[in-house]
Symmetry: C2
Subunit: 525 residues, 2 copies
């Protein structure tokens, strides 16, 4: 049992609001080195969460701890992993952590031990991937499959795609690269047409991913792909597998080589560690790489169980974010990985975070009177430095920053210019940016003046690999979960996407009037 209370009804929230603010410029200028040492929490797989450059001090941290305790964040996570109906709106359990480890009691739902269900699916996928890699299942012309194409949208696209990009070069370097992956998502027919132009269809295995088996974009793209295969004289049923729920129309269709199951207890945006990510990643890199990715996530999940925010990086990150949003009034957060491999990681977090906590009602459907989820955006560094960082440094709004960086690159190729390698330059830049944002710089020429006081955190790792990527993903998933608990939201439904779907159907059926009809008319519809 837990008590679910709106954020603004928590005593600790009031106390936090009244706490004296930390002077980030002064703190980092005068005690920066000490803070960097002190304000760090170990994560799993060699990662560390460093929050020296956040606008917090021991007093604020104590108050955040009080907030964590009063909001019962750890207890609520325990309820979640033990199988409570945390997704109240849709009356569903929330089990994505269970895909990668057993954090608490056995969870039985629909008469099945769900951990067994998830590991069973993983094993089926692993076996299938192995026979594809061996060439036991062949293409129609008797060759090996060499490419894989995921057809899915939203959670069936962004997460798996970001994870694939994150590990592609690592896999090539470490002899784990099995099949190139492509992704088709948009209902814009130019997406599928463009991707297929780069795919060797005769040697490609397509993965259709739709939990319900009814996602319009995905079914449409399936048809598009099947037409393209037939046009090339290929039999679609020999080139396609499905990832879907057991009750979906796709589950037992003879149109697929195989079907792998997901369930209603894992939302799309949390499905990278389910069969949704599992199929494409196991095929692309081998099941052992996917298993390592899960292990990394499981190790990080364990750290999220603790009640002490100074030892629980996801909970701490979440609460600092709440402080920045609700007390300091910041409306956006930038995710800035200094790693080209994480180029689409911010887009995945944009979905995970904004779709989970971009809500105006609490978990009981009552309007809340405080800001909830911020806008999330980001691009890799150093690219962003030559782009939108101008606003981050000198704009009129303060945007909190989330840096991510690794000591070593993935490819192991580098060049020494002016006495330093590219990797060293990359690191020098992330370090420099953190200090520049926090400390600023005075200048009589106000055009060259930097106010500083712009908070950031840094996740630092040894190298981006399957394990550390899993830990990184888990960190953010759990951060979002804790923020949802603190704001008393249901982070696991997405009613905000429904109205557009209904109206789009009306347009297609020409069942409309007013603005809808007039806009459609502009397009000749």
């Amino acid at each position: 049992m837990a008590t679910w209370t709106d954020y603004d009804k928590l005593k600790a929230a009031k106390s936090l609001e009244n706490a004296e603010k930390a002077d980030l410029v002064k703190e980092m200028t005068e005690n920066g080195a000490k803070r960097v040492k002190k304000y760090a929490v170990p994560m799993a797989c060699g990662l560390t969460y460093n929050y020296a450059a956040k606008a917090v001090n021991d007093d604020i941290l104590d108050k955040l701890q009080a907030l964590a305790d009063e909001a019962e964040l750890a207890d609520k996570f325990e309820l979640l992993y033990n199988g409570d109906v945390i997704n109240t709106g849709e009356k569903r359990l929330v089990l994505h952590q269970l895909t990668r480890g057993q954090l608490g009691k056995d969870v039985v739902a629909d008469g099945v031990n769900k951990r067994d269900f998830y590991t069973g699916v993983q094993k089926k996928i692993a076996d299938f991937a192995k026979i594809i890699h061996k060439g036991t299942i062949k293409t129609e012309t008797g060759d090996k499959f060499t490419e894989v194409v995921q057809i899915g949208i939203g959670g069936s696209d962004l997460g798996p795609r970001a994870m694939y990009i994150a590990l592609e070069n690592w896999a090539k370097k470490n002899d784990k690269f099995k099949m190139k992956a492509h992704f088709i998502s948009n209902v814009d027919p130019d997406d599928a047409a463009g991707v297929l132009a780069d795919v060797d269809c005769a040697h490609a295995l397509f993965i259709l991913v739709s939990k319900s088996g009814t996602t319009l974009e995905t079914l449409t793209n399936e048809s598009f792909v099947k037409d393209a295969l037939r046009f090339r004289g290929l039999d679609p049923s020999k080139h396609m597998i499905a990832v879907t729920s057991e009750t979906s129309p796709l589950a037992k269709s003879s149109e697929y080589l195989a079907a792998f199951f997901m369930d209603d207890y894992i939302g799309g945006r949390y499905s990278s560690t389910s069969a949704v990510g599992g199929a494409v990643l196991s095929l692309a890199f081998g099941p052992d790489v996917f298993a390592d990715f899960l292990d990394g996530a499981a190790a990080e999940d364990k750290l999220a169980k603790g009640k002490d925010i100074r030892k629980n990086p996801a909970m701490l990150d979440a609460l600092i974010g709440v402080y920045e949003r609700n007390v300091l009034g910041y409306g956006a957060t930038a995710v800035l990985p200094y790693s080209q491999a994480l180029s689409r990681f911010p887009a995945h977090l944009q979905q995970a975070d904004m779709e989970s906590n971009g809500k105006s009602v609490n978990r009981f459907g009552k309007p809340v009177k405080y800001p909830t989820g911020p806008v999330i955006f980001g691009e890799p560094g150093t690219n962003g430095q030559h782009s939108f960082y101008q606003l981050l440094h000198q704009g009129t709004d303060i945007i909190p920053l989330q840096f991510i960086a690794f000591k070593a690159g993935q490819c192991g190729q580098d060049v020494d210019i002016q006495g330093s390698t590219s990797q060293q330059k990359l690191i020098a830049n992330v370090v420099a940016q953190i200090v520049a944002f926090a400390c600023g710089k005075d200048d009589k020429n106000k055009n060259k003046f930097f106010a500083g006081g712009r908070p950031s955190s840094l996740i630092i790792g040894e190298q981006l690999n399957p394990r550390s990527l899993g830990a990184l993903l888990s960190h953010f998933e759990n951060k979002i979960m804790f923020q949802g608990f603190a704001w008393n939201l249901n982070s696991f439904d997405q009613e905000g996407v429904q109205l557009g779907k209904v109206l789009a159907k009306q347009v297609l059926a020409k069942d409309y009037d007013g603005a809808l009809k007039e806009y459609a008319g502009l397009f000749g519809m």
Copy 2:
């Protein structure tokens, strides 16, 4: 001559603040069809700017017109295109519009007619591209060059890359596709290593783009590429051209097959229509395609000259944005193209906008007391619908939206499912979203309640092609310029990027202490 006044000193700004707000839900629900017809401005190349779903009415539009007049927006644009030193901080002219057309008087600088200079460079690039395409200049093994790789960062990367992606499928469909383009930008060595793994180096022409010839990331990546070429037994000087300023160390180097010039009067983020975009786009698609792109931009620039906001889409878009930022208090804007080809267009606009107007001092270096540039982010629809739209619909903050959509796709391949094509579904979705955001939907279940009142505009076109893409780019460049004028900023410098560069050099030289040293130590530096 013009009077440069801070936004909060304008009488019209005060009047705008006091104007009665438009009730967008009511307006669009009751008079939606009329508004869609009435609140539309023709753009160039078949585009239309429709602002029916913006929270404006005739009274607010009149006050925006008064603001445009009092802030002398049209006069300031005239000063700009006639060659005034609009970039006051760096004491430079601002001439990117001149790359695509002559809007006013001849502009002479450094003893040269600048229009002649830009068209001269275009001709040189066109001639070079033609002989590359013909195979007159061959690879070392006597073959044709088949791929092109741009090495650049920031403005030398985001704009050209976004434009390339926007036209790649169109070019393939229309028999204009000459060479595949790749882009290397990040100092992260995994970026260059990853890209080169996909490049046929023996048949690749590399374009080194750096105005100063001193951009650290770009020179580092140049060395990386040269090493890779030598490793493959290739002579880098036979595979590389430079786009740089005439005074740069790269300009007359024997290490390049050719050098094409840019100058200090075009900022990186405005350089897509200069040699920076011109070389890669002319090589990829042929000079005639690049010329069409310029023609589209020139046609749209002409519309930006007018004083009547109801006939000047860029000025109107800019002023509505100012109203949303400074009166309604919205902190971000989402750019949402319903076109997969525009997948990186939002990232380019993020740079163009946030680097131009993310400033806290006016053009005379005095701090301003009002919000300036917002956060810009976005992803293509319908993908975004399955991602961050939840927050846009039901989050606690209102985020203004900029939709872009085209009647026809680029590839001409489609599939009919459930009685409609994919293109029709795409359009139905953008139409539905606009109305859903504006009108909302009541529901007793507050979890399914949509407040509406979330403003959006729509740029609608026939098809995304070189001309309409040019017009689209010009629209946003000019919008940003007008907003900078309204806020009394210098939109054409970027002092905010300097501090980080200085500190990064200190880290590399180990010339540091305090937080900088401690952070560097975390990475073993």
